[in-house]
Assembly symmetry: C2
Homo-oligomer: 219 residues x 2
DNA sequence: CAGGTATGGTAATGTACCGTACCAGTCAAG
DNA sequence: CTTGACTGGTACGGTACATTACCATACCTG
């Protein structure tokens, strides 16, 4: 609660969460350099000492915000298995989850800021990539390897194919949302989008009717 | 005075270019807010008056930099036709060009900064999208429409399919380069990457062997 | 060569902000 | 009630920066 009037004392954990929430709004909206500690404090009241006691300095607050936002949003990716009998169903479920994660406000915000700040916080960028797009691609590659072992699909490099699918799911749609050119897709839009991407990934635009030398050749 | 050689007077056009080049290095490396006019001037000598006379203020310099960088890098997309007899060849050529553009230092820099600054410069973000990914997708959609009219491919929504392909070509590779986690791909790597993406886009990972309800359905 | 204009170098002005210090009020324990 | 740790509010030191002002000098025009 952002009571401008004499904000009550808050327990440690609650205040930390409030700081992070306010920091997310400002950092992810304005960017790291353009964000002032005062602007964050204005949103929750209290003293700057709270921030400096809890996070040390501005960098500490930012890194904590990015890592925790990313960890929270991406937690769903790392743990669960993907149910579904056919590869088509598995990929559809995977796509739905990945798209939902990518379009979540938290991760959109992380994307917005990590791009510019990757130079200033290289380890943060690496951590984000490994836990996010990297892990997604890795998990997907495992699924594809299994299908390949079953002789279900024919691709040379499963990891590269996984990257391709992750890229398809990120797409111009994701870019438009990040740039603020359109709102995140509705559930129906997301479903149609995922179905379309998975359809092409599985069957190609030839739809299995045509044949012509694929020209695939790993470097 | 041991100045950098009392920077000689430069012609209007040359100095403007020098300012933009130096601005690109600093803005695209540090981001808009973290960049100081002094840091730009240090790289080329001269007086800050040059910048303020030519671009008005910091915002003017930044918008000029982004629009001109984007226009230059993206010019190749809008003019030329794509030679090639088969759809496969056309898409391969398209993919090579698009990847080369996306990986060019100028556009990598634009990506890095536009993400964070889209909130501050909405019209800049819109212009960038329309002239870049939007136009690429639009051009590609035309190609697909033609192929569809010839009965060569079977897809419902060519524009969405075009977005998917553009997304595949952007991919985790592009993200890694933006985040500074790896250098841009070599020519051979790029060629293999494009061939792989186009192969999947055309034939899918089933390779034309399997059939199962595509489930494609425009929203 | 004279006069004007634009430029290089630097200083000045006003503002914003990080990080810290201080003080008065608040909570919790004894 | 008293004590002490913590916190809200605010002010401060030091710095950096955007933008403007100033002056001496280089170039250009006549």
């Amino acid at each position: 609660m952002a009571t401008p009037a004499r904000a009550k004392r808050m327990p440690q954990e609650e205040r930390r969460a409030a700081i992070l929430e306010a920091a997310a709004q400002v950092f992810f909206e304005q960017g790291y350099a353009a964000t002032s500690i005062d602007a964050i404090i204005e949103r929750i009241g209290g003293s700057k000492r709270n921030i400096y006691n809890e996070f040390g300095n501005k960098e500490g607050l930012f890194t904590a915000l990015v890592t925790e936002s990313a960890d929270t949003a991406l937690a769903a990716l790392s743990v669960e298995r993907f149910p579904g009998r056919t590869l088509n169903e598995i990929l559809l479920e995977f796509g739905r989850r990945l798209l939902a994660i990518y379009m979540s406000p938290a991760l959109i915000g992380v994307y917005r800021s990590i791009m510019t700040e990757a130079q200033r916080f290289p380890e943060l960028a690496k951590g984000f990539y490994d836990k996010g797009p990297g892990r997604a691609s890795g998990r997907l590659a495992e699924v594809l390897e299994e299908a390949k072992a079953r002789g279900e699909i024919r691709i040379d490099d499963c990891h590269r194919a996984a990257d391709h699918l992750v890229g398809m799911l990120r797409d111009n749609l994701h870019l438009q949302v990040i740039l603020g050119l359109r709102p995140p897709p509705s559930r129906a839009e997301a479903e149609a989008f995922v179905a379309s991407a998975i359809g092409i990934f599985l069957h190609g635009i030839y739809g299995g009717n045509h044949r012509s030398a694929p020209k695939e050749r790993a470097q």
